[in-house]
Symmetry: C2
Subunit: 147 residues, 2 copies
């Protein structure tokens, strides 16, 4: 039986996402994909590696994503599969104060991604994905936005 | 009548504090103070200036602190008076996952600060304040820790 995550935990995660998280989609060149590009959505949290144990505990509450140690001393909690991204976005979006637009855009991209049938539609979606760039742009997160 | 802040808002703020906030105390040289130093506690949130309106809205929910625009494009939400610091720490501490130790230490410092009667006690407290340094140290927040 899957234990249901309490609302209080989603409210906490909404605050944590507003403060520390990033919601974005990358368009990666990849020849094995139909239109030569992969649409890769992510929700990522960033902490100093010394907080790794605490982030691991958090990850175990929500049971989504995985931890990744960067070489620069940052531990990332990466949520990259669509099912988990939907779970976190759908459950936190009503409590967000800062990243509501990114949450909305993420759900739109995930919905439209499934329906793409032509290259024209693909390009339209890719342009939409580009809106993350303006929404997310900040000095603090510059590095993340490089494609 | 003061409208009571709902628990859900404190839970959100706990997440936001864990993600974006900083809890620290500075010891500032100041000759108008008895022992030549001022003990200055703070809870601060940091966002890109382009999020200023959203942070203003948040500030209006909790009615504590003030906004400050830094020259580097960061807007700070600064909570520096002891009453407001107690309010935020006491209401968020049970929901924190990352900054529980800092919250605990802040309350200890605020409690002991009032009771200082000798220079020896002052120095002991100043040493305790120094523990924030190890708790808060991270690449991301290096700049904040300079005294």
């Amino acid at each position: 039986m899957v234990k249901k995550i309490k609302q209080i935990n989603w409210v906490y995660l909404a605050g944590f996402l507003d403060g520390d998280g990033s919601i974005y989609v990358r368009i990666k060149p990849n020849n094995t994909y139909r239109y030569g590009f992969q649409i890769a959505p992510s929700v990522v949290f960033f902490q100093s590696a010394k907080e790794k144990q605490k982030i691991e505990k958090l990850q175990k509450i929500y049971k989504i994503g995985y931890l990744r140690d960067r070489k620069d001393g940052i531990t990332e909690w990466v949520i990259g599969d669509e099912k988990s991204i939907r779970l976190i976005i759908e459950n936190t979006r009503n409590f967000l104060h800062l990243k509501q637009k990114q949450a909305q855009l993420m759900l739109e991209v995930l919905d439209r991604k499934k329906l793409i049938k032509t290259e024209k539609e693909f390009i339209k979606l890719a342009k939409n994905v580009d809106r993350f760039r303006e929404l997310n742009y900040s000095k603090k997160r510059k590095k993340l936005l490089a494609p």
